[in-house]
């Protein structure tokens, strides 16, 4: 395991210290908890957004705490949902009286821990609502199973619901817009290499020199199938096809995110974007905005995901709104 770390047991705490040292104007850490909140939290009268999950997905979620996006981010152990008390502390710290929206990614652990935190908040009469992001089309959706995972598309929820909250919308309205994003965003990812959870000390799976995993999530778990490595264009084609098969984007305007999993250079993400963009153009889908970069990572895994969000006027306006956070700034 080659990592720039000290003790694997303290990576999350030390990382959060480093974040606060780097961005004191944006975030502060709650004493005794692995929770980052806006430096000026709580903001009276504004709906607050709290997200989080296991660590190892940086800049998600702490990097998106700031104006126009999140109010709080809860950092669990690497790839492990945070505990309910941590989420509850975040809720208390950001609640400005207008209620708190929990943005949860669809993982059994995240769901249960955030649910328990919501129960705790309800007992203290804090108004809490939740949305569950499930954008990953690699996993079939079914009521009998866990259903689709939440992956990089979550960042669009942060951006757009965050903008709605910043505009003064109430909790129901913010929740409704978050749900609109969730309904309209789909993603799929792939990887060229595994990653190593610091405390585990060894890679999460094995891949031969000519193999890749298709349809994998962001927790180092294997994907839905192994394949021989294909050229970037073929990979992009496969990902886009799977996404377009899931909802009908034809004739619409979309936002695209080419998300790196942490170990893949921007050069490759842009090569992917070239093809994704061409494919959408061919199909008459208009790309309104594109994000390329490491937004929701999986430690040092090489690979990426494509997310496509179908836009309407409301979503476009909120997507374009100003944001000012450590990892995403928009004028």
């Amino acid at each position: 395991m080659k990592k720039l770390i000290n003790n694997p047991e303290f990576v999350v705490e030390e990382m959060l210290e480093g974040v606060v040292k780097a961005h004191p104007k944006y975030v502060k850490k709650l004493d005794g908890f692995n929770v980052l909140v806006r430096a000026n939290s709580p903001i009276q009268g504004k709906v607050a957004l709290v997200s989080g999950g296991g660590s190892g997905h940086e800049p998600s979620h702490g990097g998106f705490v700031g104006k126009g996006m999140l109010d709080g981010a809860v950092a669990g152990a690497v790839f492990t949902s945070p505990t309910p008390d941590q989420v509850f502390e975040a809720v208390k710290a950001v609640n400005g009286g207008a209620g708190v929206l929990l943005v949860v990614k669809n993982y059994t652990g995240d769901i249960m821990n955030f649910e328990m935190a919501a129960e705790m908040a309800a007992m203290e009469d804090i108004q809490v609502a939740s949305v569950v992001v499930n954008d990953d089309v690699a996993v079939e959706n079914s009521t009998w199973t866990t259903g689709r995972r939440g992956i990089a598309g979550t960042v669009f929820v942060h951006k757009i619901a965050g903008a709605a909250a910043e505009k003064g919308k109430n909790l129901d309205e913010v929740k409704a817009v978050a749900e609109k994003v969730i309904e309209n965003v789909r993603s799929m990812g792939m990887s060229l290499t595994p990653c190593t959870v610091p405390a585990a000390g060894k890679p999460s799976f094995e891949l031969a020199e000519n193999e890749m995993e298709m349809g994998l999530g962001i927790h180092g778990e294997p994907g839905t199938f192994k394949d021989v490595i294909k050229p970037a264009d073929e990979i992009a084609e496969h990902l886009v096809e799977k996404i377009l098969a899931d909802i009908d984007y034809s004739g619409s305007e979309v936002a695209v995110m080419i998300n790196g999993l942490g170990g893949t250079p921007l050069m490759e993400l842009y090569i992917m974007n070239r093809k994704v963009s061409n494919l959408l153009e061919e199909k008459g889908i208009k790309v309104y905005k594109t994000l390329v970069g490491n937004y929701m990572t999986s430690l040092e895994m090489a690979g990426g995901s494509v997310s496509i969000l179908k836009l309407d006027d409301e979503l476009k306006e909120l997507l374009d709104a100003t944001a000012d956070t450590p990892a995403f700034v928009q004028i």
Binding site: G76, T83, Y107, G109, E140, V197, G220
Partner: protein, 211 residues
């Protein structure tokens, strides 16, 4: 009867067994999950040590609830709320009691399973800890109802749990992270079922040793 002091020994034994199997459980989770199950539970059980120590003179219910709260606030992931809920329900069954009767033991497992199912919305056959716990509960219940001694009833439960673990190898996951693998999860035993088995085995070992 399991006396309060035996319960404390059982908790210690579980802590030790989870520690020894940390890597094993993590490896199982790497194969079909995200490779943290052993790390999660080990972190949790190590964290409850001092908390349990602080209530060691209290009743079984208090002790079990302390374990529950400790797990909930340190384990995280899927197994944290689930085992946390299980211990919480167990504690409610024996609130204010200084010992656990065979009937209590059956009730504890029943309530724990109900709690896990309510929280996690899984059923038997979904390739989760329930596939170890449900058969174990059935065996325990049958043995206790037919008047067997607790020590042998629990041994039967352990055996049933072991069978449940083996069964998880044969099925695809419907719940938890392993579900994302589809049929690729077949052939691998479920980490949570395995940890449940190890906990039951720890209980049995303490009872045998103390007998």
């Amino acid at each position: 009867m399991i006396h309060r002091d035996q319960l404390l020994k059982i908790i210690e034994e579980i802590t030790m067994v989870i520690g020894t199997n940390k890597q094993f459980l993590t490896d199982l989770d790497q194969a079909i999950g995200d490779g943290d199950h052993g790390i999660n539970l080990d972190r949790g059980f190590r964290a409850i040590k001092d908390k349990v120590e602080a209530v060691k003179d209290r009743d079984c219910g208090t002790i079990l609830k302390t374990v529950a709260m400790g797990l909930i606030s340190t384990v995280g992931g899927a197994s944290g709320p689930l085992y946390g809920t299980a211990f919480m329900k167990a504690g409610q069954v024996v609130a204010n009691k200084m010992e656990i009767s065979p009937e209590d033991a059956v009730k504890i497992m029943d309530e724990a399973i109900q709690g896990i199912m309510a929280r996690g919305k899984a059923a038997q056959g979904d390739k989760t800890m329930l596939d170890a716990l449900i058969p174990a509960h059935e065996a325990l219940k049958a043995s206790v109802e037919s008047g067997e001694a607790l020590i042998s009833a629990i041994a039967k439960a352990v055996e049933a749990a072991e069978g449940g673990v083996a069964f998880t190898k044969t099925i695809a996951a419907k719940k938890g992270r392993a579900n994302y693998l589809g049929d690729r999860s077949i052939g691998h035993q479920d980490p949570g079922a395995t940890s449940s088995y190890l906990m039951l085995k720890a209980i049995s070992d303490v009872l045998v040793r103390e007998a």
